[in-house]
């Protein structure tokens, strides 16, 4: 099977030849090319080359043209602060006062340099991967983006205290997310990951999610012209799985704080489960620990398909060694052959 066939089979809740696994590597590409993280992300060609080299090395089942989370606030005019050994941060919030929001409009994708780099990367990957390897694009949920646009505390105040302004922000963020996702699909992305940590039950109660993030996701995902997965970036999702299943998405990214078997059982063939290796512990895993973690996840969730092995955060930390990544890949290849024994 090609990686794409393998993934599509598991999405159909059938068993492919082996458990598909996504190594959601971003910054590691800089190591492959001998560049700093900042230099690496300065050009879409670098990221495409890094992704291709990493897939050749580890043999995982996707290409991941995700640069860094703050790229979307960069597109809105925000600052990005690069680190030597970790993901870039967003700088000072672009929204310093909620009064600004009603005068804001979503930026266009065309001509936006930072986003054009990503599109260039996707186009190269599409040409190289043909239709054999899924290319996984990313958008931040319009409901989660404001944490970077205005800071978490100010955003919580906005949700609770200024519902009309919150609604307007959602409206412009939705326009942006839909355009951005569809441009990635047009460039060659096979599917879109909708990162929505704030909708996680770790962040807001289900009642609030059902009044806010749920509807934002429902409207946004319906307008994206390709398959999607919803990812809570380490946040818990178990109590809202039935709600996520109504969003019209195919995949749910789950947290290491939840039991994989329980999540799989609750998804009940409505959603494919993505997860949930502990990305933080992975930084100090021995080869033995890596092997055990992979075997454990396969034992809990692989049977019957509907499962893709990945880390729980949606981005593997820069500090995870090549040796551990190779161990993860080897273990999946050895113990992840269907039927699982």
């Amino acid at each position: 099977m090609t990686p794409l066939e393998r993934v599509l089979t598991t999405l159909g809740h059938k068993e492919p030849d082996r458990v598909p696994f996504f190594l959601l590597l971003t910054m590691h590409g800089a190591k492959e090319l001998g560049m700093t993280i900042k230099e690496y992300f300065s050009d879409g060609k670098n990221v495409a080359e890094g992704q291709l080299r990493m897939r050749a090395k580890y043999g995982h089942d996707c290409l991941f043209p995700f640069f860094y989370a703050p790229i979307e606030v960069e597109a809105w005019g925000g600052e990005v602060i690069f680190n030597e050994n970790g993901p870039p941060n967003s700088g000072a919030p672009i929204i310093q006062n909620p009064k600004q929001i009603l005068n804001m409009n979503a930026p266009t994708i065309e001509g936006n340099d930072c986003l054009e780099k990503v599109l260039e990367c996707i186009r190269i990957l599409k040409e190289e991967a043909k239709d054999e390897v899924p290319i996984i694009g990313v958008v931040m949920s319009p409901f989660s983006l404001p944490v970077m646009q205005m800071g978490f505390e100010a955003y919580l105040k906005l949700i609770y205290e200024k519902p009309e302004v919150f609604e307007y922000l959602m409206k412009i963020n939705e326009e942006f997310a839909v355009s951005w996702a569809n441009k990635q699909i047009d460039a060659g992305a096979t599917a879109i990951t909708y990162f929505d940590p704030i909708s996680s039950i770790s962040m807001v109660p289900r009642e609030l999610f059902l009044k806010t993030g749920f509807w934002v996701a429902k409207r946004t995902l319906a307008r994206i012209k390709g398959p999607t997965g919803v990812h809570f970036a380490s946040g818990r999702c178990l109590p809202i799985i039935d709600d996520v299943a109504r969003l019209g998405t195919s995949i749910i990214g789950t947290s290491v704080l939840e039991d994989l078997a329980e999540v799989k059982s609750k998804c009940n063939r409505r959603l494919t489960v993505l997860g949930n290796l502990n990305g933080i512990e992975m930084c100090r895993w021995t080869k033995k620990e890596a092997k055990e973690a992979v075997k454990n996840a396969i034992d809990k969730a692989a049977s019957g398909g509907g499962f893709i092995l990945a880390d729980n955060h949606g981005e593997i930390p820069f500090q995870v060694s090549e040796e551990i990544l190779i161990t993860i890949a080897k273990t999946v290849n050895k113990y992840g052959q269907y039927p699982i024994k």
């Binding site: 970790g86 505390e153 962040m203 109660p205 609030l208 990305g279």
Partner: protein, 214 residues
């Protein structure tokens, strides 16, 4: 406070419903009979502890902890102004975000410590050197460091090493998502302890105060 359990349930409900007026009324009604410090110890601290426990077991969300803490902080400020002699005697404490730009975790812990009647200096965001300098300058005895990003969590090791070189005896207590995901990380960075939430931060303050008073 004979009906303490009932008052606690009502107070917690008021916090989770964001009913500041109701929460305030409950505290004021009991303050008349028992005094401010008693009301804080018997109602505010246990209610926030219960809410924090519910977050740890996944039944409440971070936004609820934040809003509850913020309401309590405002109410306690009203009951015990900063200069009040009823504010609890304590080690000199500060809280900071290290190298990160994510402030909510720090804000929640800050509110909860202040809601328990303690004073704590908010350093905002600091780099390693800025934090070491501030801790030494202010003769801090407990420094709480909050991080969200994994590289920032690793940077705590530099803070600990630099403070040790200066023979500073401050207790470094760490918290934030990376520490919740990896229970050995706090030891790896050389911290004195970690706290999952404000309850655990308060627990460490009490423990260190006991040691100081022995």
């Amino acid at each position: 406070m004979d009906n303490i359990k009932q008052v606690l349930i009502q107070f917690e409900e008021a916090l989770l419903n964001l009913d500041k007026i109701g929460a305030r009324s409950l505290l004021l009604a009991n303050e008349d009979k028992n005094g401010s410090a008693e009301v804080i110890n018997k109602i505010v601290v246990p209610a926030l502890k219960h809410i924090g426990d519910a977050w740890q077991n996944g039944s409440l969300a971070l936004s609820q902890i934040y809003m509850s803490g913020k309401i309590c902080e405002q109410l306690v400020d009203e009951l015990l102004p900063a200069a009040s002699n009823q504010r609890r005697s304590q080690p000199k404490m500060a809280i900071a975000v290290l190298n990160d730009y994510h402030f909510l975790g720090k804000r929640i812990i800050y509110s909860q410590i202040r809601s328990a009647g303690f004073e704590v200096i908010d350093y905002g965001r600091k780099t390693v050197d800025e934090l070491v300098e501030a801790v030494c300058r202010d003769e801090i005895e407990i420094i709480f460091i909050s991080t969200l990003m994994y590289p920032s969590a690793l940077d705590i090791e530099q803070v600990v090493e630099k403070l040790e070189k200066l023979a500073n005896k401050v207790k470094v207590i760490v918290g934030g998502a990376p520490f919740n995901m990896d229970e050995k990380l706090w030891q790896q960075v050389g911290a004195y302890a970690m706290g999952v939430d404000g309850n655990e931060a308060l627990g460490w303050i009490d423990k260190l105060m006991e040691g100081k008073n022995e």
